[in-house]
Each structure stands twice: as structure tokens, then as C-alpha cells.
């Protein structure tokens, strides 16, 4: 198993009147569900913590798009907490997280995902949380070799050390492949009843889920973070390039999840609603952006992000007409509105499909 002998294999876990308390990082996926459940099985009082960075995939787009509104929706972290019967503390880390995205010490993964820095950050926040709330240790669902950057044999110790959690960080699913942590050494938990999972296979987790009676759990295909998505990363990189600096506000990263994004000129971008749900969502930004919509035909709400002159507005109006039901008409009336309430109507010829180059799409 490879642990260093500080732990007494024959130690008997003595039940205490006050159970030890652990906070489990709950993503909403299977691994953290199982890790928390393993702790409950050992009599540990577990509460969950979930960090909201602004990039979490959790249901945003599904709630915005009308076609998805009738599908059952749930926040998987809350659902996991319900399955486990534990409290869940959802923590807004949007502001603090910006520095992780913009300046990751350990760099990015395949896209703009700073996975290792992200895990260090979240465990560091959990370390602060257990101090403030009188908890004993931290639990994660990490498994050696499960993720290419943040869950490797050489990076798991980095997470423990740089977060300041050190030996108060227990990974129940792969603990027997790691040196004993304080909860094991002190006998708060029984190391022999922990697991030695490793690698990318999900079979051991699925078998353990069956043993615990979990049959319905989230299996996100692309992780739980928009930053792992190539298309999203392209749009974020474009945002930074257009501003000449790497910064963002929450509204920026929300808008990257909505609509078609086209950059017809270097100094402005259009966000084109794809259907009623998105149009309604974009309407909330009317006081921040120049915006257009067709009045002679049904069509999208379009936000203009950037400084534009009259030629740019005409181009934006022709693109708006292109995405309206008047795309084949000779002329489409498009209303142009400014954030300060100014309004005018332009009659424009819709841009032909062949005149919208692929390079404009982000």
C-alpha cells in the first residue's frame, strides 16, 4: 500500500461521544458523493461545502434556453447533499477566484482551466472554513490518476501542501495509496476501511456506488467547469484580447454562456440571442449595451459590445436582419437602442449567408 508505518494497522477506532467533524468538498459528481459517504459510514459528522466560481456548469444555460426549460433541473451539489442527508454550504468565491483564472501559478490545462491552482484554492478555502467552524478535517473525492493535471501522484501532495491543509486533507477513495493523514494516525477514521482507487477507470467508483445503493448520479462528460470547454475558452480569450488586458466581471462570463458571439470588426462584438429564452435573458442587459432587434419580422435581440460608429451600427443591423425571419426579405426594419434610451429604426438589407465569414464566429 505504500504508507510509511506511522499508522498502527491494528489500531482500534474508539467510538467517542462527540463524533469528529469533516467538511467534504461537494462538486455534485460521483467521487465526492462517495468520499463523503465513506466518512459517514465511519461515524464522522460530515457537512458539505461547494464553491461557486462563476464558471460552474450547474444549470445556467439550461435555465436560460427555452427548449431546456421543461427538462428536469437540479443543482447536483444540493442533490448529493440530500442523498447523504448532510448540510451543504454554498460559498460565493467569484471575486477571489479571478486571480486563479487570470494568474494560475501552475498554468492552464488543455483550455483556460487552471485545475491545479483551482483545487489548491478550494482546499485552502475549506481549511479556513474548518478553522472558523470548529471542524476537524477536510475530505475530497480525489483519486490518483483520475485527472490529467490536478489528480496525479505528483500533484496531490502539492494540493495538500500549498493549500495549508497538509495532513488534515483526507482522500478516502485513494487514501491507502497515500501516506496516512492525521485523521488516520489519530484513529478518527479506520484506514483499513478506506480505499485504494487509482487511474481513470470509473469501475471501482461505480461498484462502490452500487454497494451504497446510489443508482442515479451525475456523470458530467466535460467536467463541472466552463473553463474546460474549448469554445468557452476561445470566447474568454477573445474578451481579454479585445480589452487589451486579462480581466472580467461576472456579467462578462455569464454573457459568454449565452447566444451566438460574432466579432465582425476588432473593436466590437455582437451577442445574438438564439431563441426566446436567451432573448429574454439578454434584455436584462439593455441598459448596459447598444442593442438591436428587428421590428418588421420576428428575430433576435442583439447586444453590441464595443465602441461603434454609424457604419458599424449598419453592419450590426444587417447581421441582426440576417438572423431574423426576414433573412430572405429585401428589407428588414431594425430598431437600434442606446443604453441612455435613444432609439431609431434602420431599414437594411439582410446580410447574405455567404457574407458572414466563419472567422467572425467565436
Amino acid at each position: 500500500m505504500g504508507y510509511n508505518g506511522r499508522f498502527n494497522r491494528n489500531r482500534v477506532v474508539v467510538p467517542m461521544s462527540e463524533p469528529r467533524k469533516a467538511v467534504a468538498l461537494i462538486s455534485g459528481g460521483l467521487d465526492s458523493l462517495l468520499a463523503a459517504r465513506v466518512m459517514q459510514e465511519q461515524g464522522i459528522h460530515v457537512e458539505g461545502i461547494n464553491f461557486y466560481t462563476g464558471f460552474c456548469v450547474e444549470g445556467h444555460t439550461h435555465a436560460i434556453r427555452k427548449k431546456d426549460r421543461d427538462k428536469p433541473k437540479r443543482n447536483n451539489a444540493l442533490w448529493v447533499a440530500e442523498q447523504l442527508g448532510i448540510k451543504l454550504h454554498i460559498v460565493d468565491v467569484i471575486e477571489e477566484y479571478k486571480d486563479i483564472v487570470i494568474n494560475p501559478k501552475h498554468g492552464y490545462g488543455a483550455n483556460l482551466n487552471p485545475c491545479l491552482d483551482c483545487k489548491v484554492f478550494m482546499v485552502r478555502k475549506a481549511r479556513q472554513w474548518i478553522d472558523e467552524h470548529g471542524f476537524d478535517f477536510i475530505v475530497t473525492g480525489e483519486v490518483i490518476g483520475q485527472r490529467p493535471k490536478s489528480q496525479r501522484a505528483d500533484t496531490l501532495p502539492v494540493v495538500a501542501h500549498e493549500s495549508g491543509a497538509d495532513d488534515l486533507l483526507l482522500r478516502p477513495l485513494c487514501a491507502r495509496n497515500l501516506p496516512p493523514t492525521r485523521p488516520e494516525i489519530e484513529g478518527w477514521v479506520d484506514r483499513e476501511a478506506l480505499y485504494d482507487f487509482q487511474g481513470r477507470t470509473r469501475k471501482p467508483q461505480m461498484a462502490l456506488a452500487r454497494r451504497f445503493g446510489f443508482t442515479d448520479y451525475a456523470q458530467p462528460a466535460g467536467g463541472c467547469c466552463f473553463l474546460t470547454d474549448r469554445q468557452y475558452a476561445v470566447k474568454l480569450a477573445d474578451l481579454w484580447k479585445s480589452r487589451g488586458e486579462r480581466r472580467y466581471e461576472l456579467d462578462d462570463i455569464m454573457l459568454l454562456k449565452v447566444g451566438r458571439h460574432l466579432r465582425p470588426r476588432p473593436h466590437f462584438k455582437l451577442i445574438v440571442g438564439r431563441e426566446d429564452g436567451e432573448n429574454r435573458f439578454l434584455q436584462g442587459y439593455r441598459k448596459q449595451f447598444v442593442h438591436l432587434f428587428p421590428v418588421s419580422h420576428k428575430g433576435p435581440l442583439v447586444l453590441v459590445d464595443g465602441q461603434v460608429d454609424d457604419d458599424d451600427i449598419e453592419l450590426a443591423a444587417r447581421i441582426t436582419a440576417r438572423f431574423s425571419q426576414g433573412r430572405d426579405a429585401d428589407r428588414v426594419e431594425v430598431e437600434v437602442n442606446t443604453p441612455n434610451g435613444g432609439s431609431r429604426t434602420l431599414g437594411v438589407e439582410p446580410l447574405a449567408g455567404g457574407d458572414v465569414p466563419k472567422e467572425w464566429y467565436l
Binding site: 461547494n50 445556467h60 444540493l78 447533499a81 448540510k87 454554498i90
Partner: protein, 77 residues
């Protein structure tokens, strides 16, 4: 008993849940928060958050595109 309103309109889940959680902190058992939301996801998420944290949803009202979710603070705050 205190009764307060929380404006979570235009916020996407889980932010309405987080704002509710922040508002409930420090309130007494029996106090009531009326959460105004526009994200349909809040209809599921706020009740789920209440269930796991010991609070109670006492009413959900639709007002056009808006939802008013009324939460009564539980003992476990």
C-alpha cells in the same frame, strides 16, 4: 417575527441560493425571507437548499416571469 424581501432577479442559480443563504444567516427561527427570482432553476434549488439546511419553503408564487419563494428560517441556522 421579521419578514424581509430579497431581490435575486436576473441572478442565475446558484446565486439566488447563495444570496438566500447569506440573508438567512443571523436571522432567528421563524423569521421569513421572500426571495424574488427570475431564474426558473430557483424553483428547485431554493427548496432543495432549505431541505438540506433545515429551513422551510412556505409558498412559491409565480408573478409573470418572476417567482416569489417564501422561506421560513428553521432552528438549525
Amino acid at each position: 417575527m421579521t419578514r424581509v424581501q430579497l431581490d435575486a432577479r436576473r441572478l442565475l442559480c446558484p446565486l439566488p441560493v447563495i444570496r438566500t443563504q447569506e440573508r438567512v444567516e443571523g436571522m432567528a427561527a421563524g423569521d421569513v425571507v421572500e426571495v424574488l427570482c427570475t431564474d426558473p432553476g430557483a424553483r428547485h434549488d431554493i427548496p432543495a437548499w432549505c431541505r438540506v439546511n433545515g429551513h422551510q419553503v412556505i409558498d412559491i408564487e409565480e408573478r409573470g416571469d418572476e417567482l416569489v419563494i417564501t422561506v421560513q428560517v428553521g432552528e438549525a441556522t
